[in-house]
C-alpha cells in the first residue's frame, strides 16, 4: 500500500473499527487489490522459546489444507490433536480436498492458507512456486528442536527428506510420506513356482520364458501416465550410469544423456519391449495394477502406496512384496542404490497470515507420535525416522527390508521438478519407448535435444543440484 495518506480509506477503516468490525480482514482485502503490498508480518508478536521456537501467538488461528488422496486425511486429524494438546487456544481450521491447485492457486498472490499440502494430479508446480517467491523457505523449521526433543527436526528425518524438499539451496517443501519404489511381485506365487525375484535384467530375461510358459505376461505397466514408466527407466539409468551421470542430467550438462551407461540402461528396456514381454493392451495405473493382481502379469513397478491404493481388490492368497529395480549386472556403477524418497509435499505460502503457527503445525506433523499414527493409518512410512516400527504389514516389511540393504545413496531425480518442459518431454518419450515406437538411441537423442533447448532458453530459471 502506498504511503500517501488516503483520507477515504482511513475514514472507512476508522468507521469500521468504530463499528466494532474486525479491521484486520478489511485491511487485508484492501491491500489485496493493489499490486505492490509490502509484507505486514505480525508473527513476532508471540514469545519465542525452545518449546515454542516460532513464537506461536495464543488465540491466533491457522488454516490447514490437506490433500485427501490415496493417503486419506485421517492422519492429519491426529496431528491436529497433537498440536491442540499443546496449544489449546490456537484454532486449527483444517479442510481437505483433492483440488489443491483449483482452490489454492487463485489465493496464493493475496490471501493464501497457512499450510497447504501440495499433492495429487491437481497440484501446483513446485518450481513455479519457488521461482515466483510464492512459498516460504522453511530452513528455520529444520533447525528447530524436534517436537519430542532430542536433536533438531532435521536430525529426526529419514535420509533424502531434506534433499527432496530443497530448491535453489533452500528447504521449501516438507514431504511427509516416505515412499520406496521398485518391482512388485506376488510372493505366494513365486514361492509356489520356485521363482526368485530377479536382481538384474539378465535374471529377468532368463526368468521371462518360464513366466510366459504359465500363460502369464512377465511385465505390465501404466501406459496413460508417462511418469510411471519413467521412474523405472531413470532408476535403471542411475544404477547403470551412476549418481554423477544423473546429477549431470539434472544440471543440464552438455551431452549428459550421452554419458557412459545411460544408453545400455535404456536398451535393456527396449529389449523388454521388443521381446514382447509386456501384457498386450494399454492400461492406466489402476487397470494395470488390477491386471497384476488378477495374475495376468508377474511384475509391476510402482511405489509403496500400492497396497493402500488397491486394498479393496487384493485377492485372497495374494501377498505383495517389493523388490529393487533391476540393474544391468557387472557394469553397474551403483547397483545397490534404492529408489526412495519423501513425497506428498506440504508448503507454507509466502503470504500466509500466520506463518509461526504454520511452522509449528509442521513440527507436530513431523513428531514421533504424529508420524507413528501416519504409518499406522496409511500403511506407508512417514519421513520421520522409526514411524513404521510398530506396524505389522508384509508389504511395508518388504520395503523396510529393501531399505535396510540399500547403500547410503538414494536414487533421486530432480529433472521433472526442475523444468516443466522436460517433465512433459520425458513422460512422452518414456511412453513412446514403452510403446515400442522409439529406440533407446532415439530416446537419448530426443532427451538431449530437449535438455539443450531448455538450457538455451533464457526465459526459464535454471536450477542445480550438488548431491
Amino acid at each position: 500500500m502506498s504511503v500517501t495518506p488516503d483520507l477515504d480509506r482511513r475514514t472507512l477503516l476508522r468507521r469500521a473499527a468504530a463499528a466494532g468490525l474486525l479491521v484486520t480482514p478489511a485491511a487485508g482485502l484492501l491491500s489485496a487489490c493493489a499490486g505492490s503490498t509490502p509484507d505486514q508480518n505480525n508473527d513476532s508478536a508471540g514469545e519465542k522459546s525452545n518449546d515454542n521456537p516460532f513464537g506461536v501467538q495464543d488465540g491466533s488461528a491457522v488454516k490447514v489444507v490437506i490433500f485427501n488422496g490415496g493417503l486419506g486425511d485421517a492422519w492429519a486429524k491426529e496431528d491436529q490433536a497433537i498440536f491442540n494438546a499443546k496449544y489449546p487456544n490456537v484454532t486449527v481450521n483444517m479442510s481437505s480436498t483433492q483440488k489443491i491447485k483449483t482452490e489454492e492457486q487463485p489465493k496464493m498472490a493475496t490471501q493464501p492458507s497457512d499450510v497447504v499440502m501440495n499433492s495429487g494430479a491437481d497440484m501446483m508446480d513446485i518450481s513455479t512456486l519457488v521461482n515466483e517467491g510464492a512459498i516460504e523457505p522453511l530452513d528455520d523449521l529444520l533447525a528447530a528442536p524436534a517436537w519430542e526433543g532430542g536433536g533438531t527436526v532435521a536430525d529426526s528425518l529419514l535420509p533424502g527428506t531434506v534433499g527432496d524438499g530443497t530448491y535453489q539451496g533452500k528447504f521449501f517443501v516438507v514431504n511427509v510420506a516416505y515412499t520406496v519404489w521398485g518391482n512388485w511381485y506376488n510372493s505366494v506365487l513365486f514361492d509356489k513356482e520356485g521363482w526368485t525375484p530377479p536382481k538384474t535384467f539378465d535374471d529377468f530375461f532368463a526368468l521371462a520364458p518360464k513366466i510366459k510358459a504359465k500363460g502369464m505376461a512377465p511385465y505390465v505397466y501404466d501406459a496413460v501416465h508417462g511418469y510411471y514408466p519413467r521412474w523405472a527407466l531413470m532408476a535403471t539409468v542411475w544404477k547403470s550410469a551412476g549418481k554423477q551421470a544423473v546429477i549431470d542430467i539434472d544440471n543440464l550438462k552438455e551431452n549428459a544423456w550421452r554419458a557412459e551407461g545411460v544408453l545400455p540402461a535404456l536398451e535393456a528396456w527396449e529389449k523388454l519391449v521388443k521381446d514382447k514381454l509386456l501384457l498386450p493392451g494399454k492400461l492406466d495405473h489402476t487397470q494395470s495394477q488390477q491386471a497384476w493382481l488378477d495374475g495376468k502379469a508377474a511384475f509391476i513397478q510402482v511405489g509403496t502406496w500400492l497396497k493402500n491404493e488397491m486394498a479393496e481388490t487384493i485377492p485372497p492368497g495374494f501377498e505383495m512384496k517389493i523388490s529393487d529395480y533391476w540393474g544391468l549386472g557387472a557394469t553397474d556403477k551403483a547397483p545397490n542404490d534404492v529408489y526412495a524418497g519423501a513425497g506428498e509435499g506440504i508448503v507454507v505460502p509466502a503470504k500466509a497470515p500466520n506463518k509461526a503457527a504454520a511452522k509449528e503445525f509442521l513440527r507436530a506433523v513431523l513428531s514421533k507420535a504424529g508420524s507413528a499414527k501416519f504409518a499406522e493409518l496409511t500403511k506407508s512410512l512417514a519421513s520421520t525416522k522409526g514411524s513404521g516400527d510398530n506396524v505389522q504389514d508384509a508389504a511395508l516389511a518388504s520395503a523396510n527390508e529393501l531399505m535396510k540393504n540399500a547403500s547410503s545413496d538414494l536414487i533421486s531425480i530432480k529433472l521433472w521438478n526442475f523444468y516443466a518442459d522436460l517433465d512433459k518431454e520425458s513422460q512422452n518419450l518414456s511412453a513412446e519407448l514403452m510403446a515400442g515406437r522409439l529406440t533407446a538411441a532415439q530416446f537419448v537423442d530426443k532427451m538431449q535435444a530437449a535438455a539443450d533447448k531448455v538450457a538455451k532458453d533464457s526465459s526459464i530459471t535454471k536450477q542445480t543440484r550438488d548431491a
Binding site: G35, S36, T37, K101, Q105, M108, A109, T110, M124, D125, S127, T128, L129, N131, E132, G133, A134, A223, V224, H225, G226, K276, L279, P280, G281, K282, L283, Q287, A291, A420, D421, D423, K424, Q427, N428, L429, A431, E432, A435, R437
Partner: protein, 313 residues
C-alpha cells in the same frame, strides 16, 4: 417508449447486465491485459512485455502442431456432424413412404429422435468417461472385447485407440477416434434442429416435387437442403466453436492430456499446460486471446459467406 417504461425495463436489466459485465466481460478484458505481461500466476509480480507473448506464438512449434489439429477438427467436426444430422433428420421427417396422410418419416421416427438426441443430455465429461470404457485398449474394452470374441482382433494386438499416433490420411489415428465421439455426441442435437427447420417447409412443396417424379435424392438436394441453408449455416458456426474447443475429450481421454507424444495436442491443452504446469499465465493468456480473435474472425467470415436473401413461405 414512454419514460416510465424505460425506467422499468432498465431496472430489470441493470442487475443481469451488471453481473454479465463483471463476471464475463471483465475477466475477458483482464485476460487480454495479462497477455501483455509475463505474469506467472502465483504471485503479484508482473512486468509489461508488450506484444512479446504474441510474437512468441508464431515461433512455438507445439502451438503450430496444436493449431493444425484444431483446423482438422474445424473442418471435420462440422462436416461429418451436419452430414449425419441432415441425413437422420431427412429420414425421420420426409424419408418414409408417402400415404394418405402425405409425406412422413420412416417407421418409429419418434423413438429414434429420442435415442439420437440422448447424448446431448449427458455432460461431455460423462461421455468421455463412457467412451474410455468403449475404447479401452485391452480385452475388457467394449469394442476390443467384441472384436476379439469374433476373431477379428488378436488378443496380443488389440486396437489401441487413444494410444495410436500412427497417421491415417496424414492425421494421427487418435484424432480420428476423438472425431468419432464428437460427431456421435453432437449429431443428435443438430438432427433435432434440422428436423424443426424441415417441419417448417410446407409439405405441398414436396408433394409437388414427387408428382413431378422427383425421387428422395432429388427432393433432398433440390428442396430440403436449399431451404435449410440458414439453419445449416448457424449450425456450422456453432460446431466450429466446438471444434476449436474439444478440450474435455482430449483432457479426459488422451494419455498425458494431448498425447501420445503430442499426437492429440490442441490449442486448449497447450494453453492449460503453459498456464498451470509451466506457470506462464501471461503467455497462456495470449494464447487464449489469439484463439478468441481467430474464433470471432472465423464466425464473421462464415456468416458473411453464407449470407443471402431469405426465402419466405
Amino acid at each position: 417508449m414512454r419514460h416510465g417504461v424505460a425506467r422499468f425495463v432498465t431496472g430489470f436489466l441493470a442487475l443481469p447486465v451488471g453481473l454479465y459485465l463483471f463476471y464475463v466481460v471483465w475477466p475477458f478484458l483482464q485476460a487480454a491485459g495479462y497477455s501483455l505481461t509475463d505474469w506467472g500466476g502465483y504471485s503479484d509480480r508482473q512486468q509489461f512485455v508488450g506484444l512479446d507473448n504474441y510474437l512468441r506464438l508464431f515461433s512455438d512449434e507445439l502451438i503450430r502442431k496444436a493449431f493444425w489439429h484444431n483446423v482438422f477438427f474445424l473442418i471435420t467436426v462440422p462436416l461429418f456432424t451436419i452430414a449425419l444430422a441432415l441425413f437422420l433428420a431427412f429420414l425421420l421427417n420426409v424419408g418414409g413412404r408417402e400415404d394418405k396422410a402425405g409425406i412422413r418419416g420412416v417407421f418409429g421416427s419418434g423413438l429414434y429422435k429420442v435415442i439420437f438426441f440422448f447424448p446431448q443430455v449427458l455432460s461431455l465429461v460423462v461421455i468421455a468417461v463412457m467412451w474410455q470404457q468403449i475404447y479401452r485398449a485391452d480385452g475388457q474394452g467394449l469394442i476390443n472385447g467384441m472384436l476379439m470374441k469374433i476373431g477379428l482382433v488378436s488378443e496380443d494386438d488389440p486396437i489401441t485407440f487413444m494410444y495410436d499416433p500412427e497417421p491415417f490420411l496424414g492425421v494421427p489415428a487418435v484424432l480420428w477416434w476423438l472425431l468419432l465421439i464428437a460427431v456421435w455426441s453432437g449429431a443428435g442435437f443438430y438432427m433435432v434442429l434440422f428436423s424443426a427447420a424441415m417441419q417448417s417447409i410446407p409439405k405441398d412443396v414436396y408433394e409437388a416435387a414427387i408428382l413431378d417424379g422427383a425421387g428422395r435424392f432429388h427432393t433432398f438436394f433440390r428442396i430440403t437442403l436449399p431451404l435449410l441453408r440458414d439453419t445449416v449455416s448457424v449450425a456450422w458456426v456453432y460446431l466450429g466453436f466446438i471444434a476449436l474447443d474439444m478440450y474435455a475429450l482430449v483432457f479426459v481421454m488422451t494419455p498425458s492430456q494431448g498425447g501420445p507424444n503430442h499426437a492429440s495436442e490442441i490449442f486448449a491443452s497447450v494453453l492449460n499446460f503453459t498456464a498451470f504446469q509451466k506457470g506462464q499465465f501471461g503467455y497462456a493468456c495470449a494464447m487464449g486471446v489469439a484463439l478468441a480473435i481467430f474464433t470471432i474472425l472465423l464466425a464473421a467470415l462464415q456468416l458473411r459467406i453464407t449470407r443471402r436473401e431469405r426465402i419466405e413461405y
